[in-house]
Structure formats: C-alpha cells, structure tokens
C-alpha cells in the first residue's frame, strides 16, 4: 500500500471523490492503527469520507461533493459515531478520544483521519477490541487493524462475524524481557570484579579450618559445601533485598558511598583471611555486606532502565541472572579448592597470596572511589 499522504486541512480543500474518476471503486475498508503500551493508548483511524457520508450524512448543501468545511462542521458527530463503534478493554473499558482530525488520500478517495488517544485501567492484562464500524449498513466493510500491544505487533482483518479481537498481554515479549534481564544479571556478576573478589574472599577459607592459630583443610566436602551454601545464600538474600528496595526507589543511596562501601567490604573480607577476626558465622558478614552490594547491582539496573510495565519481572530476571553467575563461580571454585585445600600451594599461594592481592587491589579501589581518583581500574 502506498504511504498515506497526510495533509492538514488548514486550507479549504474540496474532497470531491464523486467527481474524481481516478479513484478506485473498492469495497469499504477502514485502517485502524493502535499502540497500546501499558495503560496508554495512541493511534490513528482512517475512515473513508464516502462511508462516513453514507452513515451520518456529510454533504450539508446537497451538491454531491464533500468539502473540508462540511467535514469540519461535523467533527464532533464523526468522533461520536466512530468511537461509539470501537471498544477497547484492558482490565475494564479504556477511554478513547479523538485528539486531532485530519484528511488523507487512499486509493479509493479521501479519508477522515482520527488521531486517537486513550487510557486503560490496567497496564498488564490482556486486551480486548470490539469493532462494529459500518457493519450494520455495509456487510462487506472490513476493519484492517494493526495493533501493537506492549511492543508486540498484531494484524487482523475484522468483519461482521469477526469484529472482536482478544490479545494476550505479550507473553512472548515478557519472556524475552525476562531473558534479557537475566543475561544482564549474569553479565554483570562476571564483569563485576568487586563482587567476585568479595565472594571469593569469603569462600577461600570455606575449605579450611582455623585451629590453634593454624589453617588446616576441612575433613569432609560436605562441611565445605555447607559453609559455602550459608555464605552464598546469605549474600544472595541480602543483596536481593537492597536491590529490590533500590530498584523500586524505596531507598536511594549516593553511588559514590555505595561503591566505596563495596570496596571496603572487599578490604575487610580479605583482611579477615590474613588476620582472622571473624572465623565462624562468616555468613553474617556475607549478609551484612551483601546489603551494600545490592545497592551496587541496583545502580547497574538503573542504567539499563527498568520497563515500568514489567518492573518486578525484569528485577527478578536480573536477580536470577546474578545468582546464576554466582553459582557458576562457586561451582568451578569449590571442587578445585577442596582438592587443593591441604597443599601448600592452596594455603600459602592461593589463600594467603590471593587474599593479600585482593586486599591490595581493594584498597586501591577504596582510595579511588572514596576520593574520586583514577589509579588502576578502568
């Protein structure tokens, strides 16, 4: 179809379809384009002037031609007539108004163009459309509907026996949205070295036992696993709480404070490995600092932008992504650490050396973030 040429009816134009032989004789169609996004409805409805004339009578002076003036004088009637034959419902009837009246040319002549706006009670429920235009007087009339529901396009041809349209609130789009945020979550934990280092600092001693000022390997894998699960679960629960609170804008903290606190959490966790203060109940540490890390995740999510109509779902997706990323780290760390736990390589090299390196790096981060400097990290 040719792109519609819209011309504003500022000048009095003669819409003389009856006298213009170059226009097609075709069965009657109207073209309804709607975008429903959450509660908001916007769209455009092209209805042939010839059809409007047949239904409500436009030719005021009876000369067989319809002028812009004649159309303009009946704008209110046209809007009432048309909107009375279109119902949109999403959790109840949506309001619909004609925001603007224009005129356009199609292959079979001039069309009134109604620019529509509206509001629905629900922003997430399924959408129902009931189309009744002209069917009472022209059974060959068809409504050619192109509807975008929360970004998912649908197209339909509506006739007298098929005037109703029911659209599921975009399940596909929701799933896609969930998946998209899940991937973001995984990605963020993988590139978020501060989170990884914090977690590793807490996990490194999980395969060891500090007894009589000496580190020795745990006896059973089970004991190590339980320790790891406590730490990871506590960290997860904590950062989920603050991530959700921040994403829903219940609590907002300045990002410099949050980032500095995260760096400090890594410093303390690494230092605790070298000079043990907290030896038991490391999960409490994980929980406490997890609260801080949650605010860090939230700032990433804020940069991504959360869709208002799928906030909870996206949040959940992001969170699940973060957990999956975390689990991948734990799953690759724990078996190796357990196998190496009694070797000097692990105890001196990885545990002590790693913690020392982590401490150093996190101290630099802390300095950078607290004093807004650029030292090593990007």
């Amino acid at each position: 179809m040719k792109a519609p040429r819209i011309f504003l009816g500022l000048f009095a134009c003669l819409v003389a379809w009856a006298a213009a032989p170059a226009l097609a004789h075709k069965a009657s169609d109207s073209y309804l384009v709607l975008q429903v996004k959450g509660q908001e409805v916007a769209g455009q409805w092209d209805i042939a002037l010839r059809d409007i004339d047949f239904a409500v009578g436009l030719d005021a002076n009876g000369d067989g031609d319809i002028t812009w003036g004649e159309v303009k004088a009946r704008h209110a009637d046209i809007a009432t007539w048309a909107l009375g034959r279109l119902k949109l419902a999403r959790g109840g009837d949506c309001s619909l108004q004609v925001a603007e009246h224009l005129v356009d040319e199609h292959t079979d002549g001039a069309y009134a163009v109604l620019r529509l706006t509206g509001n629905c009670p629900s922003r997430t429920q399924d959408l129902a459309l009931d189309y009744r235009l002209l069917f009472d007087i022209d059974q060959l009339h068809r409504g050619l509907v192109r509807l975008e529901l929360d970004g998912v396009p649908h197209a339909s041809v509506l006739g007298p026996t098929s005037g109703a349209l029911n659209l599921k609130a975009g399940e596909t789009s929701r799933l896609a949205q969930f998946g998209q945020y899940l991937v973001e979550g995984v990605w963020h934990i993988w590139i978020g070295f501060d989170h990884i280092l914090f977690l590793l600092s807490l996990l490194l001693p999980a395969v060891l036992v500090h007894e009589a000022r000496r580190w020795t390997g745990v006896r059973s894998f089970r004991a190590a696993l339980v320790e790891v699960l406590w730490v990871v679960t506590a960290f997860t629960v904590a950062h989920s709480i603050t991530l959700s609170l921040a994403a829903m804008q219940v609590i907002e903290l300045p990002s410099r404070l949050v980032e500095s606190a995260i760096a400090a959490s890594v410093v303390l966790a690494a230092a605790n490995n070298l000079w043990p203060v907290v030896e038991r109940r490391r999960w409490l540490v994980a929980f406490g600092f997890g609260l801080i890390h949650g605010f860090g995740f939230a700032s990433v999510l804020a940069e991504l932008g959360l869709p208002a109509d799928a906030l909870v779902l996206s949040l959940l997706g992001f969170n699940v992504g973060v957990e999956l990323g975390q689990l991948a780290i734990v799953a690759s760390f724990l078996p190796v650490a357990f196998l190496l736990r009694s070797t000097p390589l692990y105890r001196r090299g990885i545990f002590v050396g790693g913690s020392a390196l982590t401490l150093l790096v996190s101290l630099v981060w802390l300095a950078e973030r607290a004093f807004d400097l650029k030292l090593i990290s990007a």
Binding site: A22, H25, G62, T107
Partner: protein
C-alpha cells in the same frame, strides 16, 4: 452520485420503504438490495454489494423466493458459487416458475465449466417457455462447449425475439464475444456497437469491448472508450494495457494505481479479482511466475474462456507446461473453437521451447 439525480432519489425512496417496513416485510428490502446489486454491476462498485448484504441481513432466515434469489446473486458476486447455487435452488423450491433462478444457476455452471449441469438449467428455461433466457443460456452453453456456430445462431434468435433493452444489451455483448472467438471481427464490432448504442451503463460490456479492441490492435480506441471508467479495477486494467501499448505518459501512474489497488484488496483478504490480477502481473508488471500462480488459483474457481486464456498466456510466458494442463484438458473435452486459445494451447504444450507469450495486442500467426 448527485442527490438530484434520479438514481439517488430512487434509492432514497426505496430506503424509506425499507424503514417503514421495519423488518416485517422483506419485499422493500429485496427491492433496495436488487437496485444496489444492479448499481454494483453497472459501475463496478463493490460497496453497493456490502450495502445490499446489510439490507438483507435481517431476513437471513427467510425462505421466500425473492429473498433467496437476491442472496444468491450477492453470493455469486463474492464467488461463493456453492452457496449461490443452494440459494437459487431454494428459490425454485419456493417458486418453481422462477425462471431467473434457473438462468442464474445456468450462468454459474457455465462459469465453472460444468456443461451438463448448465444444460439442465437451460432445458428448464425452455420448459418454462422463456425463449429469451433459454436462448441466452443455450447459446453460451453451445459456444463454450465446442459448437460455436450453433451457439451464435441461438443467441441471434434470442436477440431477434426480444425488444427488452437489458436483454438485448446482454445478448449483443455475448454475440460480440462469440463472433470475435469465431474470427469474425466485423460482426463482433457490429454487435458491440449496437450494444453500446443502447446507452445503458454496463461495466461488463465496456470490458468486453475493450478486450476486443486490444485484440484488434486498436489501443487508442480503448483509451477513448474507457474515459471516465478508471474507478473500476477491471477497466483501469484495460486502460493501462492500452496506455502502455501507446506509451502514454498517464500509463505509468495507472499501473502504479493498479498495484496499489491489488495491494489494498489483498490487505482486506479480497480474492475476487484474481483473473484481473493475473493479467496485471503478466502484461503490466512483467512477472510471469506471479501471474501464473494467480491465474492457476483463479482457474480452480472460474473456468470461462477468459480465465483459460490468461492461464495459458501465463504458462507460456513462465515456460511451465504443467500449469496449463487444466486448460488443455478443458480445450480437449469441450472442443472450444477459439483459434487464439488453440494456438496458445499448442504453444504451452511445447514446454521450454517457447521464448515468451505474445504480448497483448500483437497479432499472432494463425495456424
């Protein structure tokens, strides 16, 4: 349509009668719907079909002959041939003397190339002592089924027997077509001109006359004959073919307008213009495979000589002998005598060895 013109006044009167009847009496609605149907046919304007449908919709349960008959006509317009045949059969149940229902059934059977069934309807018209309708029915049946001369004579006899202008218009148009198939352009032209001289608006006549002129290499006269008829898709098609042959500047816009209109019809799911669309794809868009696809689907539904011809032409142009097989079967079974079709059939049988179909309006070597 100007409000002052007689048609507008007549329609207003009929609508008022429908309103007064308030759904109790189907007769005023039937009259209004019949008038809408005539307007749709005369002007090639399908909106009137939709209006007629809506006027008749309160009487969907009626078994009255007149109601069923108008419904049958509206259904055949939409190519719902089975439904139309059933409606006309119902009309005959209610009124066995209803000759027009037999005539419509005969016409539908002819369109579908079911000549045995058509013969039954033609015989019924004879039994009802309706010589004009019988002559038209039999004349076409004979012409389509390989007895062109006898068919021509039957149509001529029917014409001689009627003074009614609408009947004469129809018979003269068909005589023109049959004469052209028989290779008698002078006789054909005489019939077409006599039909035009009746001064009755008729889209079918104009289309048949234009096709004849195109076949006779007279595109300039097509342009003249079709002035003011661009609103009808079928007639704009002929105008664009003529304009393209003459290299008229307007032709380009007409071809674009046709493309837009076929796209618009497709968007609404309309499939009643496939024969025209095939001609458009073949002769104006130069897309033989698309033409062949549309022509083949059309031929499953409509099997008149013009439908056979566009399928053959498309098959030859696309070098696809197999696609033309249904037409070759029909030519063989019916013995249809048009030399042009027989030659196209021979060409399509030589799969792959044919360079291209003869362009419209170019003379073809007669065997």
């Amino acid at each position: 349509m100007r409000p002052g013109d007689p048609t507008a006044r007549e329609l207003a009167g009929l609508r008022a009668a429908v309103a007064r009847a308030a759904g109790d009496d189907p007769l005023p609605a039937t009259e209004l719907a019949g008038r809408y149907f005539e307007l749709a046919m005369a002007r090639g304007d399908p909106r009137y079909i939709g209006y007629a449908d809506a006027v008749m919709s309160p009487f969907a349960g009626s078994r009255a002959a007149a109601v069923l008959a108008i419904r049958g006509k509206l259904r055949q317009y939409r190519h719902d041939f089975e439904g139309a045949l059933a409606d006309f059969a119902g009309a005959l149940e209610a009124d066995p003397q209803f000759a027009a229902a037999h005539a419509w059934r005969g016409a539908i059977h002819l369109v579908r190339a079911d000549y045995a069934a058509a013969r039954t309807e033609c015989d019924a018209l004879l039994a009802l002592d309706r010589p004009t309708l019988h002559g038209g029915c039999t004349g076409l049946l004979l012409a389509y089924s390989g007895r062109m001369e006898a068919g021509y004579a039957a149509l001529q006899r029917a014409l001689d027997g009627t003074r009614e202008a609408d009947n004469r218009l129809w018979l003269l148009t068909r005589l023109g077509e049959v004469a052209a198939w028989r290779g008698q352009p002078e006789a054909a032209e005489r019939h077409f001109r006599a039909a035009l001289a009746l001064g009755i608006e008729d889209g079918y006549l104009i289309a048949a006359w234009s096709d004849f002129l195109l076949d006779q290499q007279r595109p300039a006269e097509v342009v003249k004959a079709l002035a003011g008829w661009e609103a009808s898709d079928g007639l704009l098609l002929r105008l664009a073919i003529a304009g393209t042959a003459l290299k008229l500047p307007a032709a380009k816009a007409q071809v674009q307008a046709l493309a837009d209109r076929f796209a618009a019809a497709k968007a609404r799911g309309d499939t009643t213009h496939r024969a025209e669309e095939a001609r458009f794809q073949l002769h104006l868009a130069g897309n033989a495979p698309a033409a062949l696809a549309v022509a083949a689907i059309n031929y499953r539904e409509q099997r008149e000589p013009r439908d056979a011809r566009v399928l053959l032409e498309a098959a030859v142009a696309a070098k696809d002998a197999g696609a033309a097989q249904p037409v070759l079967d029909w030519l063989k079974a019916s013995g249809f005598e048009d030399a042009r079709l027989r030659q196209l059939g021979a060409m399509s049988a030589q799969a792959g060895s044919v360079a291209s179909a003869p362009p419209p309006g170019k003379p073809e070597a007669r065997p």
